[in-house]
Amino acid sequence: MSAVPRDVLVAQAVFDLAARPDGFDVLELMHDLTTHTVRLVGVRSAGVTILDHDGRVDYLTASDEDCRRLEEDQVELDEGPCVDSTRNGSLLSPVNLHRAGLGSQRWPRFTPRALAAGYSSVASVPLRVSESAVGAVNLLHAGPRRLTGVDLQLVQVLADTAGTRLHQRRTLIARNDVIAQLETALSSRIVIEQAKGILASRLGTDVQDAFVRLRAHARSRQQNLTDLARMVVRGQIPADLDRTH
């Protein structure tokens, strides 16, 4: 069997998630996991949710604002596929959200919101770190194509690659365990949201575009995303991220 272009894309995604420098940005890794998932599986959105140290579900990152908003809704409602799969730590096979379907019975408050945002089905794979689940990678799908078991297998490989890299980071930083790293990522999340808002003002864009610019800037300069966001919130905005310069 000869390689097809898609094989290269999949291998590149796995390599990108595995080849992180020492002291890499956890939030950035998780965000890139959602981006690769969206690109390779063709879902509309993907997000990562985790259990914090008090056993509460919290969202870590999302591929876009619609997905992020729905993850927040689920935390607020304490109901939804991301909440279930994060708590259970197991695979959630694709669930059709259409009104008469299983979705509205299982998640009566979440389902109408997801449908209103244009999503038609959901699925999750566990985010595992050395065989124990610490969270979930959630897929929010729209469009006629159905998610398959093979799609979920691919996402699981991507998630396991990111989980393995997280685990290796732990052995480098003796005192911190993975949960603590993810907790830190929760607080850096706020810095990134603030930086998005600052850039939206400076660039005259919406927050989604502001984030695309922020991510692209960090990537092209191999700069840590959270560090870049911290610079922005301190008022040190790189010239090419600031139209007023």
Binding site: E72, V75, E193, Q194, A195, G197, I198, V207
Partner: protein, 250 residues
């Protein structure tokens, strides 16, 4: 020296990090159930954290600091807090404005230029060392936790670690939505501040109005309360430009 002080305060080595972790976990649960720090952290707390007095200040929308909690409730902490407030100068204020940790291991030996008004006044009190930690929500300073000691010495790394853990716990209290608590419907869980759009709007408004992030957040919350609007909806209105940023000034 600071290390000796710590050990004599808190018993034998190894240090009771687990006990403090448990104490803070209980405090977080209490704060999430709507209790204030006075209930969540029963006195005496300060000495468990290697200091003689602790104060918690919140930033108000007039850019002032407001003392919310002190342990012990009277004496050194409130006294030094009032001193800083009256003089407009000192470590707590510096930490609030600069958004960083400020320490002075020996106030008697410090250069008077550092706090020209506070240092001479503090010399008349038993305080000898101070550490002030900003309570930061992302890049937004929303308050300050200050520890005072009656003996000189720098805080140890571990002492700073546990004080940071305490600051993170108290941040939960500062960010619990008071307006929600006042309704009596749900305890202040801070869930409204959980919304990313609130933080996005904080950044957006700070840039639009050229004010610090902490101020933008405090004013956004004050505006939501004054006009009885849901914080996330108000944030959304600013971000989508359906409400002009300068509406916050009114």
């Amino acid at each position: 020296m600071a290390r000796d002080q710590w050990d004599s305060d808190s018993g034998d080595v190894p240090p009771p990090r687990d006990a403090l972790t448990e104490l803070l976990a209980r405090a977080r649960r209490a704060i999430r159930s709507g209790y204030g720090p006075g209930r969540a952290l029963p006195s005496p707390t300060a000495r468990l954290f290697g200091v003689d007095a602790l104060t918690l200040n919140a930033l108000t929308h007039e850019r002032q600091l407001e003392l919310l909690w002190a342990d012990p409730p009277d004496g050194l902490g409130p006294e030094l807090d009032t001193l800083q407030y009256t003089l407009g100068d000192g470590p707590t204020l510096q930490s609030a404005y600069e958004g960083r940790t400020v320490t002075e291991p020996d106030l008697a030996a410090a250069d008077t230029a550092r706090w020209p008004l506070f240092l001479p006044a503090a010399a008349g009190t038993p305080v000898r060392a101070v550490v002030a930690l900003p309570l930061l929500l992302g890049g937004a300073g929303v308050g300050v936790l200050t520890g005072y000691r009656t003996t000189p010495g720098s805080p140890t790394t571990r002492q700073l670690d546990v004080l940071r853990d305490l600051a993170a716990t108290l941040l939960l209290f500062l960010t619990a939505d008071v307006a929600v608590q006042a309704n009596g419907t749900t305890p202040g869980t801070g869930l409204r501040l959980y919304r990313a759009e609130v933080h996005q709007a904080t950044g957006y408004l700070a840039a639009e109005l050229d004010i610090p992030l902490g101020q933008a957040l405090v004013r956004l919350r004050a505006h939501a309360t004054a006009y009885d609007r849901a914080l996330a909806d108000l944030a959304h209105a600013f971000l989508t430009r359906s409400l002009a940023a300068d509406a916050l000034h009114r």
